[in-house]
């Protein structure tokens, strides 16, 4: 069995003024992931290491970490690809560190709620199924695959420089509902899109779409909404709406 050097960024809020690196030598087999490497450390070497995980198969979005400076899901990143190391694992950048690899997600969760990520039916279908064509489904399907893993926020330098920026995943999820033919809540969500820290905070770096483990393209959602925001701005002169 081969051994890989893993360096973890450690931070204990009661004991440390700032994070520091800690070195571990982890024996591994070819089928072991970074998450399994962390679990080995916790089970066999150092029980105090804190990190989040749940499903182990890129569904729950809990185990996002920086692996050698790149945002990755620990459960689908293999140790063999980084042998002999050192493999540096640290919390997702741009988020406050709560402890070791665990970050504070409150800012994201508040923004997610503000986007009203639920279906507000345009018309009440009653007891009938709310029908949709495959074309209408294709308008939003990829955005509905987001698992809130926050890799895109760690990849977004604009969010790092200005945490007020709504950010990629929330704007992608917002677009998921705005682009849904059954939804009627677009006008409520457009306030968030049009805001200074809405879509216009994006400078199309595009790295958010590169790192997404589910094939979502947040950069596309954001830039589609720049068009929507522009239309919304000019159309209100032609067709004023009440309460604006």
């Amino acid at each position: 069995m081969r051994t890989i050097a893993i360096e973890c960024l450690r931070y204990h809020p009661e004991a440390d003024a700032a994070p520091h690196w800690q070195h571990y030598d982890v024996p591994f087999t070819d089928d072991m992931t970074v998450l399994q490497g962390l679990q080995y450390i916790k089970d066999e070497l150092d029980g105090s290491l804190t990190f989040r995980w749940s499903c182990r198969m890129a569904i729950c979005g809990s185990c996002g970490t920086m692996v050698n400076g790149v945002p990755r899901l620990g459960c689908e990143t293999f140790l063999r690809d980084y042998y002999p190391g050192p493999l540096r694992v640290e919390p997702l950048t741009h988020f406050p560190i709560v402890r070791d690899l665990a970050i504070d997600q409150s800012d994201f969760l508040a923004k997610l709620e503000s986007a009203k990520p639920w279906l507000m039916p345009k018309v009440d279908p009653g007891a009938e199924p709310h029908r949709q064509t495959p074309e209408q489904l294709a308008d939003y399907y990829q955005y509905s695959q987001c698992i809130n893993c926050l890799l895109c926020y760690a990849a977004c330098p604009q969010y790092g420089l200005n945490e007020k920026f709504t950010g990629p995943a929330v704007l992608a999820l917002l677009h998921r509902y705005n682009a849904d033919s059954r939804d009627g809540g677009k006008q409520e969500r457009m306030q968030l899109v049009n805001a200074e820290d809405g879509v216009w905070g994006c400078t199309l770096v595009g790295y958010c779409s590169e790192v997404c483990p589910k094939g979502v393209d947040p950069a596309r959602a954001v830039n589609q909404n720049k068009i929507e925001s522009t239309k919304d701005y000019f159309l209100r002169f032609l067709a004023p709406r009440s309460g604006r």
Binding site: Y11, P13, E14, D16, A18, P19, G69, V70, T93, H94, P96, I97, V98, D104, A138, D139, P157, G160, L161, T203, L204, V205, G206, Y207, S209, E210, D217, A219, R220, N223, Q224, K226, I227
Partner: protein, 122 residues
């Protein structure tokens, strides 16, 4: 809860090659601005007198100015390529693969550039 917030330095873009190329794309606008100003000066000299225009042309033939123009050409070509690369993300959903839009855009700008060059020489 005492959470630790890591500082973001002015050198944040150096930590990943993807960001470095992004900064090259953004910084190319500075080179392009200087190039546009140089052309504007040329137009101004042309309106002043033939002597001043010839003097401006002579200044353009200096080695460091030619080197600058080569650099500007490379950077603007890179910027144009990135512009077409991200173009599909800015368009409404169309029944054409992203790659086709990028290839069509780059081909179109290539043909236009060659035609322009040909017209300028003729």
């Amino acid at each position: 809860m005492k959470a630790y917030r890591r500082p973001v330095t002015a050198w944040w873009w150096r930590r990943n090659p993807y960001y470095v190329w992004y900064m090259v794309r953004e910084a190319s606008c500075v080179v392009l601005t200087i190039y546009a100003l140089t052309l504007l000066v040329g137009v101004a000299r042309l309106t002043q007198s033939e002597v001043r225009y010839e003097d401006w042309l002579e200044r353009l033939s200096r080695p460091w100015v030619i080197a600058y123009h080569v650099l500007a050409f490379v950077l603007v070509a890179y910027h144009a390529w990135t512009w077409f690369k991200i173009m599909p993300k800015t368009l409404p959903r169309v029944p054409v693969p992203d790659k086709a839009i990028v290839v069509a855009g780059v081909t179109a700008i290539g043909i236009c550039s060659v035609l322009l060059l040909w017209a300028a020489r003729a």
